[in-house]
Amino acid sequence: MSLQVSKNGDVVVIEVDGQLIVGNRQELKQRVLDEAEGGARKILIDFARAGYIDSSGLGVLVSLAKRMRELGGDLRLANLNDDLQTLFELTKLDSLFQIADTRERALESF
C-alpha cells in the first residue's frame, strides 16, 4: 500500500493505493494523526485506487473517525468500489461514515 497526500483548501486528501490490511494499517493511522497534529481538521480518504480492506483496516478508519470528531474535525470517505461498498454495508459502517461517490462531491460536502 502507498499513500498520496494532497491538500484541497483546508481538506487533507489521502489517497490509498493497494490493500489496507493488518500489515500496513498503522501507516495510514500515523499519517492521519500526523496531519491532525499539524492542525488539519478535515480529512478525506479516497479509495479510488484501493484494493481490499480487512477488519483491521476498517477498525483503523473507525478509530481515526472517532479521533477526528474528538478534535472537532471530520473524516470522510470517497470512491468506494462495489467490493468496499459491500464491506461497509455488511459491517454497517456505511451508517457511521459520510461516504461520497466522487472526490469532488466529498470535497463539496465539507
Binding site: 490493500q19 493488518v22 500489515g23 477488519s55 483503523v60 464491506l87 459491517t91
Partner: protein, 137 residues
C-alpha cells in the same frame, strides 16, 4: 485434505498479501466469480491468517502458520493452522454491527469470515485449524 497448495510460512503479517495472491490465482484458474476473487477470498483469508498470526501464535517470531488450499470446479476449501491452543468458535457470537459495538476498533474478523464464506469451522489438527469453505458461483 488433498491440497493443491500446502505451505508453511513464518508467522508474520507481512506474509499475508503474498499468500492471498497465491490462493486467488488458483481460484481464478478455476474460474471463480469476480466478486469472490476480489472480495470473499482475499478478505476472509486475510482474517484467518491475521487471527492465526496475532492471536493463535501471539505474534511470536519463530512460530509458523500452515496454509492448505484445495480448489476445484465446485469449491475452495482453505485451512489455516497455527500453533496456539485454539478458541471456541461457537462462543464467538458477538455482533459488531449493533449500535454499542459499531464504534469498536476490533471484533469484525470472525464476522467477516462468516459473512464472506459459506462455512467456517475450527478443529484440532497438529495445531489449531480454521477451515473456510466457499462454493464457486
Amino acid at each position: 485434505m488433498h491440497a493443491a497448495l500446502d505451505i508453511r510460512v513464518p508467522s508474520d503479517v507481512q506474509q499475508i498479501e503474498a499468500i492471498v495472491a497465491q490462493v486467488v490465482r488458483r481460484c481464478r484458474e478455476h474460474r471463480f466469480d469476480g466478486r469472490q476473487l476480489s472480495l470473499n477470498v482475499p478478505v476472509a483469508l486475510t482474517e484467518a491468517l491475521s487471527n492465526a498470526i496475532l492471536r493463535g501464535n501471539g505474534d511470536a517470531a519463530g512460530k509458523c502458520v500452515r496454509v492448505r488450499a484445495e480448489v476445484t470446479e465446485m469449491r475452495l476449501v482453505l485451512e489455516v493452522e497455527d500453533e496456539g491452543a485454539g478458541f471456541d468458535l461457537e462462543a464467538c457470537t458477538e455482533d459488531p454491527t449493533t449500535p454499542e459495538n459499531l464504534e469498536r476498533e476490533d471484533g469484525r474478523g470472525l464476522f467477516l469470515m462468516r459473512s464472506l464464506m459459506d462455512r467456517v469451522e475450527r478443529f484440532r489438527g497438529d495445531g489449531n485449524v480454521v477451515r473456510l469453505t466457499l462454493n464457486r458461483r
